[in-house]
């Protein structure tokens, strides 16, 4: 079996985004998989079943009865210090929400593909980021891939980031339902041996802080009192929570380093926390996540042909948020339109735009954030729509007048 796996040679495969997820998990030699089917994630778990049953991937595959159990299984497995993988979408992610907190709170380096889809009702199975953004504050790192190559590369990188002892956090690698999961693109895959060299070895004796070993009996997750000065200094709940925050801060440099190392080894770079496109002289930069970020490059090129100084920013990593990068960009960029497939109900804009506003609020240059909702439930977002938003932003930059009303692009009249 081991022989078969090490035979994987460098190749280019024309595959779906979902297949890219499954191939990456195989390359990472995940040891335990648990999954429950949901459209549009299903072909990932089907492909992984094939890999395992054909003897191409030496993993335990637990086919559970619900997503709550998916995450419980991965938590149990990961507590043994083994490498784990799963994938889900929309309702499935919501159903396992309780366990998402558990995985992050226990600091388990679980990696999960999220094929984003709209939350019901009414039923919707197409690209929409409401599902994963509702898990924003669970402690998971959140990455968005914008093409199939990036899905593959990010998933592999993720194990190196999550398993870094200064991080020890779980992570989502997101791809838009159908628009990425079910379309085909060429994906370059390296020699297995190179991936083996790149990824850390899973420690034989597990990671020290989460390990189930009868010779080292540890009770995990005891109840803790609130504690406080002069009350009970042995209460650490608050401190544990704070350490999750610290881990997110630590992760920022690790993400940058891993992206660089990956580039050096495999010659591919998708950005670190963000990817900038023609931002150097830009006054306006369109911020987006997932496939919209790839398409934004076309919109920028079109605008540039007409002489506009615009650029695009792909938010590759949403959690930890690329705060420092945006603060740097804001020294030159006047307006950041944020076009996204989600809604921060009751606020003005999508969820990412709210966060961007928050981190730029006290910026000395007072840049504008222009929230734009687009493509909810997988509705088509055309290059023209992105151009229109860019033009609105350019106008704002020129007139220095901020538009307060929410722009909802592509809504039926």
């Amino acid at each position: 079996m081991t022989e078969l796996r090490s035979e994987l040679k460098e190749s280019v495969r024309i595959i779906s985004g979902n297949a890219a997820c499954a191939w990456a998990a195989r390359y990472a030699r995940v040891q335990v998989i648990s999954a429950y089917p949901i459209t549009p994630q299903t072909t990932i778990v089907e492909k992984l079943s094939d890999f395992v049953e054909n003897g191409e991937l030496d993993a335990e595959y637990i086919r559970v009865e619900s997503e709550h159990s998916v995450m419980a299984c991965l938590i149990g497995a990961s507590y043994n210090g083994v490498r784990t993988y799963s994938a889900t979408s929309g309702q499935g992610l919501a159903y396992m929400h309780e366990m998402l907190h558990w995985a992050a709170g226990a600091r388990l380096p679980i990696v999960m593909g999220i094929v984003d889809r709209g939350m019901a009702p009414p039923w919707n199975i197409w690209a929409d980021h409401q599902d994963v953004l509702a898990a924003r504050d669970t402690g998971w790192m959140i990455f968005f891939a914008s093409n199939h190559q990036e899905i593959f590369d990010t998933t592999i990188q993720m194990y190196k980031i999550c398993e870094n002892p200064n991080v020890f956090l779980p992570a989502f690698v997101c791809l838009g339902g159908f628009i990425m999961s079910h379309t085909q693109q060429p994906v370059h895959m390296p020699d297995q041996s190179l991936v083996d060299e790149f990824l850390p070895e899973v420690p034989k004796n597990g990671w020290p802080h989460f390990f189930l070993d009868p010779d080292r009996p540890i009770t995990h997750g005891n109840l803790q009192n609130p504690g406080g000065p002069n009350i009970d200094p042995s209460c650490w709940y608050y401190e544990y929570r704070y350490l999750i925050q610290k881990a997110h801060e630590n992760a920022k440099q690790v993400i940058i380093d891993v992206a660089k190392e990956y580039q050096k080894k495999f010659g591919i770079f998708h950005g670190d926390l963000i990817e900038k496109y023609k931002c150097d002289d830009a006054e306006v930069a369109l911020v987006s996540i997932g496939s919209l970020a790839d398409q934004a490059k076309i919109a920028v090129d079109n605008m540039r042909e007409e002489g506009y100084k615009v650029g695009a920013i792909k938010l590759r990593c949403y959690k930890p948020f690329p705060t420092e990068q945006f603060q740097e960009l804001a020294k030159k960029i006047r307006v950041f339109p944020v076009m996204e497939r989600s809604m921060a109900f009751g606020l003005i804009g999508g969820i990412v735009s709210i966060d961007l506003k928050a981190i730029l609020y006290q910026h000395p240059k007072h840049p504008f954030v222009l929230p734009v909702i687009a493509g909810v439930g997988g509705r088509d977002v055309r290059v023209e729509d992105q151009i229109e938003v860019l033009k609105t932003a350019v106008e704002m930059a020129e007139t220095n007048e901020f538009k307060t009303e929410l722009i909802v692009s592509g809504l039926h009249e």
Binding site: I75, W102, D213
Partner: protein, 309 residues
């Protein structure tokens, strides 16, 4: 049944894996059961405890009563976490053969088993996860202050059934037996040696093993703390709780229950319920309803036993 004399000779049985000074209430049936279960399972055991009193009785951080790896877990997630641990151990065994021979135990309350955890439990049993699932049944959500569960008997007071529960107890051991798993047993904290023996047996069997232990709860059932054993035994002697094993589908009655198929040998349930404040306000009519339900459990058993032979 094992004799106390034999037991004393067994070095494992002499060990305590749930240490003194834990935070259990005085006279806790669940704690007694857990200590005996761990005596049978020994050191090389990993325990998962979904939300229940057993996330509290183990002691507040940094104190911990369990002398074995012990994982506090989300309420509905006990069984699935065990599936994950078993898979994780299987993966580790490939690198480190010393991981062999570890027993994985889920120790869950009636709420975590009968109600919120039943989906995960059923899934794990259907998958045949190689672990032991033990429900300690104190017949209510005790950790949150005695609210009714699917395990609360008809007529019993709880804080959410202030005039007595209107529905009967759910029969989860038989539901588990319907999964076709190799071993199902019931036990009672009032008969710890019977429990010990059943756990020893379960440990040797591969696949999913399910043991359902009635665990009297002094504060929840409202009886004096020194009477936990007495109350547990009365539950068995009146036939309210039946001790049996189902091995590869074949049922046998065990312990005192062996002689209770004939109704004449069973004490009236009044002898059991009168010991407990939770039945204080039950009406004579409702006692009859409960007695009828008990008798029906036995009639069902009779049919099953007759069909087997």
């Amino acid at each position: 049944m094992v004799k106390l004399k034999e037991l004393i000779k067994d070095p494992v049985a002499g060990e305590e894996y749930f240490l003194k000074g834990n935070s259990s209430c005085a006279g806790c049936g669940g704690e007694l059961a857990f200590r005996w279960i761990m005596k049978a399972l020994g050191k090389r055991t990993i325990v998962v405890a979904p939300a229940s009193c057993f996330n509290v009785t183990i002691g507040l951080y940094p104190r911990a009563g369990p002398a074995i790896p012990y994982l506090n877990m989300a309420f509905a997630a006990g069984a699935a976490t065990c599936s994950g641990i078993v898979a994780g151990l299987a993966a580790r065994k490939k690198l480190d053969p010393s991981m062999e021979d570890i027993t994985v135990l889920c120790f869950a309350g009636d709420g975590g088993t009968i109600d919120i955890g039943i989906q995960g439990l059923s899934g794990a049993a259907e998958r045949g996860t190689d672990f032991i699932y033990i429900c300690y049944d104190n017949e209510a959500y005790m950790n949150t202050g005695t609210q009714r569960s699917g395990g609360t008997p008809f007529g019993a007071w709880t804080t959410t059934t202030p005039t007595g529960k209107k529905e009967h107890k759910k029969n989860v051991p038989m539901i588990m037996a319907a999964h076709g798993i190799p071993y199902v047993a019931t036990a009672c904290a009032g008969y710890p040696l019977d429990l010990y023996q059943k756990v020893l047996k379960a440990k040797k069997i591969k696949g999913t093993k399910y043991i359902h232990v009635l665990a009297p709860c002094a504060p929840g059932w409202r009886f004096p703390t020194e009477q936990a054993i007495e109350v547990g035994r009365k539950a068995v002697q009146t036939g309210m709780w039946i001790l049996y094993e189902i091995e590869d589908g074949k049922m046998t009655l065990s312990g005192p229950s062996k002689n209770l198929l004939d109704k004449k040998n069973r004490k009236p349930i009044e002898e059991y319920i009168k010991l407990q404040g939770r039945f204080r306000n039950i009406s004579p009519e409702d006692v009859k309803v409960l007695q009828k339900w008990v008798d029906r459990q036995w009639e069902d058993l009779k049919i099953r036993l007759a069909c087997q032979s």
